[in-house]
């Protein structure tokens, strides 16, 4: 079976949103949508699951806090508890206010960087990655909806033409 998809191209995000709603109502499976900028509410209209990246960030923050606490407890309290300017190095809690700036920064550092790396990994972004634009105009002023063809090709083409698409193409996907 050939992997044919429809590329319906729109030049307005409002038209695109309407088209997405019609497509969903007609139970056509949307493979992907390419837009030049974030379209507010598009994910909801497409029925995409909410992101869990904030939960990741929270957990990474906890890791950062633990690393900072463990590190300073080991270095300043366990390994060599020197008297530095009269700061109490008997146990961690006695000297904690001095450690808080580092605990805070490492929490933020871990949360931010690990979250960004997670984002890159999950969205498969890296340097020298081959760009996946099906049409260069989608980075400028056009919106493209990609829908798999699982039935009558002619019917689908007329369906998308009726949703206000400025261009409807049938493409072989490899």
């Amino acid at each position: 079976m050939s992997n044919k998809v429809i590329h319906a191209i729109y030049n307005d995000d409002d038209v695109l949103m309407d088209a997405v709603k019609q497509t969903r109502a007609a139970h056509h499976h949307i493979e992907e949508i390419y837009t030049p900028f974030p379209v507010h509410g598009l994910d909801k209209a497409m029925g995409l699951a909410p992101t869990r990246i904030a939960i990741c960030a929270f957990l990474y923050g906890l890791v950062g806090l633990s690393v900072a606490t463990w590190m300073m407890n080991f270095i300043m309290i366990q390994d060599w508890p020197q008297d530095i300017g009269g700061k109490p190095s008997f146990n961690y809690i006695d000297n904690m206010p001095a450690f808080v700036p580092i605990m805070f920064e490492l929490t933020v550092f871990f949360a931010a960087h690990l979250m960004v790396i997670t984002f890159y990994m999950r969205s498969k972004l890296w340097p020298f990655k081959q760009a996946e634009n099906p049409d260069v105009r989608t980075t400028d002023d056009h919106f493209l909806m990609e829908v798999g063809i699982h039935g009558n090709e002619e019917e689908l083409i007329s369906f998308f033409t009726n949703t206000g698409a400025v261009e409807v193409k049938v493409v072989d996907k490899h």
Partner: protein
């Protein structure tokens, strides 16, 4: 239009009556004479004092001075030297530094004899010290509750002005709620000003502000305090009351004009009243930040006249600002649950909860910045502030950190939670209680010292002002339509969605 439910009205009256009784009990319980205090002290401390004297006597006899006993003696000696006993912080400072620097006395015999002689004097001074603290207790309880509720309405007023100045599109739907809360400013500030006058005139043994005692700046007096004497250009009762009057009058005037223009906008054909409020907000915010700073020195920091901190004004601001926003959220949720405010949706609540979360963190940032800088450098003249608090107020001092920081941090970080009524109300109750404790920690250590307790006077005062607050705020809410009309941003606000 909102109608004040009779149940809530009765509830507010019950709170006021019970609170007034509690306040009365507080004043009635306060000791009237120094003999009362000596009796109390004899009952509670007799065992300890007797043991102490015995130990000293024993040491003198045996010529065997043990280290701990010796340090104790040194402490007793140096506390004797303190001129005035009213500032507990100073007392503490000498206490703790004395232990560290106490020189080893060469002549144990004479030293001991002196100590025993001093013991009687010291007991008397101690009794007088405790006497003032216990007499301050009902006043301080009243003062903390009064300033707390008044500053909540000031915090809401500042928030309201920011919404105008920033031309916020989400909040106009809540303006009447905010105006209702700021209506407490007038009665609240009148009662508060009376309390300031009471302190200045020393009505009913009110010694909340040590520097108001004329003797401390009189070089002839035994109570003479040079540090306060050097600050007398600022710390004078006349200047204090005049500044307070100016600040309170301007705040109330601004609140009155805000409300007047807001009501006028409901029926206006153009945006003139709105523009007036916009300009008024810009003026108020400039005046507010200056007056807020001054009021925090005067009304709060000056109970510890030996201590100063530069970010104190901001710290106090963050405390009552977050309380004010919390009260807006809670009253909005209450009105919404009663079927008023149909256009308020979970997005508005979400925004308020975000503010509660963010400003709670901001408060913590300032609290920690103040604490850590002083803890780190450990300069005796400023560290006493925290030494007294950590020694005598350990639970409230660190407990409020859990209430005001850790709890909101963990609860309000979740987007979904910020839309749930019960979560926001629960977090709100915790935040408000935490910030009452915050004000408690600011005032009490300097006025009642280690004699603090959250008992009938404190709870009574809190109940009284809570009842008054509910009564005034909900009465004000009945006086105007609960949703403003004619505000240029009202449509956007009604359809606000996040």
């Amino acid at each position: 239009m909102y109608t004040f439910s009779s149940k809530l009205k009765t509830f507010s009256f019950v709170l006021m009556i019970l609170g007034a009784i509690g306040i009365g009990v507080g004043f009635w319980q306060a000791p009237k004479t120094i003999e009362d205090v000596e009796k109390i002290l004899a009952d509670s401390h007799h065992g300890h004092e007797a043991a102490h004297v015995e130990k000293v006597a024993h040491d003198a006899e045996a010529h065997a001075v043990t280290e701990p006993a010796h340090s104790e003696v040194a402490v007793v000696d140096s506390t004797k030297a303190i001129v005035t006993d009213s500032v507990h912080a100073t007392h503490e400072a000498v206490d703790s530094t004395a232990v560290a620097v106490a020189p080893v006395a060469d002549n144990h015999d004479t030293h001991k004899k002196e100590t025993v002689a001093h013991e009687a004097d010291h007991d008397k001074e101690h009794a007088e010290h405790v006497f003032h603290q216990l007499q301050n207790k009902p006043w301080a309880a009243l003062y903390v509750a009064c300033i707390f509720f008044m500053l909540i309405s000031v915090g809401v007023l500042a928030f309201y002005a920011i919404q105008y100045a920033a031309q916020a599109g989400w909040s106009p739907i809540l303006f009447r709620v905010m105006e209702g809360i700021t209506s407490y400013l007038l009665p609240g500030s009148i009662i508060f000003f009376i309390l300031l006058v009471a302190a200045g005139m020393h009505w009913g043994h009110n010694h909340l502000f040590v520097w108001m005692d004329a003797d401390v700046i009189n070089p002839e007096s035994v109570k003479f305090d040079k540090l306060i004497f050097l600050k007398k250009g600022w710390l004078s009762v006349g200047r204090f009351l005049a500044t307070a009057a100016i600040i309170l009058v301007v705040w109330n005037w601004v609140r009155f004009k805000f409300r007047q223009n807001s009501i006028a906008q409901d029926t206006a054909t153009d945006n003139a009243p709105y523009k007036k409020n916009f300009k008024l907000a810009a003026f108020f915010l400039v005046f507010f930040i200056v007056s807020e700073s001054i009021m925090s020195w005067d009304w709060i920091m000056s109970v510890d006249p030996h201590w100063y901190s530069t970010l104190f004004g901001w710290y106090v601001f963050a405390s009552f600002f977050v309380s004010g926003i919390t009260v807006i959220a809670m009253i909005t949720l209450y009105l919404k649950s009663k079927g008023y405010l149909e256009h308020v949706n979970t997005s508005h609540i979400h925004d308020l909860a975000k503010f509660m979360f963010g400003i709670s963190i901001f408060w913590t940032y300032l609290w920690f910045s103040q604490f850590m800088l002083i803890w780190y450098s450990n300069i005796p003249e400023e560290v006493t502030y925290f030494v007294t608090r950590i020694e005598h107020y350990k639970l409230p001092f660190f407990g409020m950190l859990a209430l005001n920081f850790i709890f909101p941090l963990l609860i309000l970080i979740n987007t979904d939670f910020k839309r749930l009524t019960w979560i926001v109300v629960m977090a709100g109750v915790v935040i408000l209680f935490g910030h009452y404790i915050d004000f408690f920690n600011m005032i009490m250590p300097a006025t009642v010292g280690d004699q603090w307790f959250i008992g009938i006077p404190e709870i009574g005062s809190l109940a009284f002002f809570l009842g008054l607050f509910i009564f005034v705020v909900f009465s004000a809410l009945t006086k105007a339509p609960i949703e403003p009309k004619g505000n240029p941003f009202i449509e956007e606000s009604k359809h606000f969605h996040y």
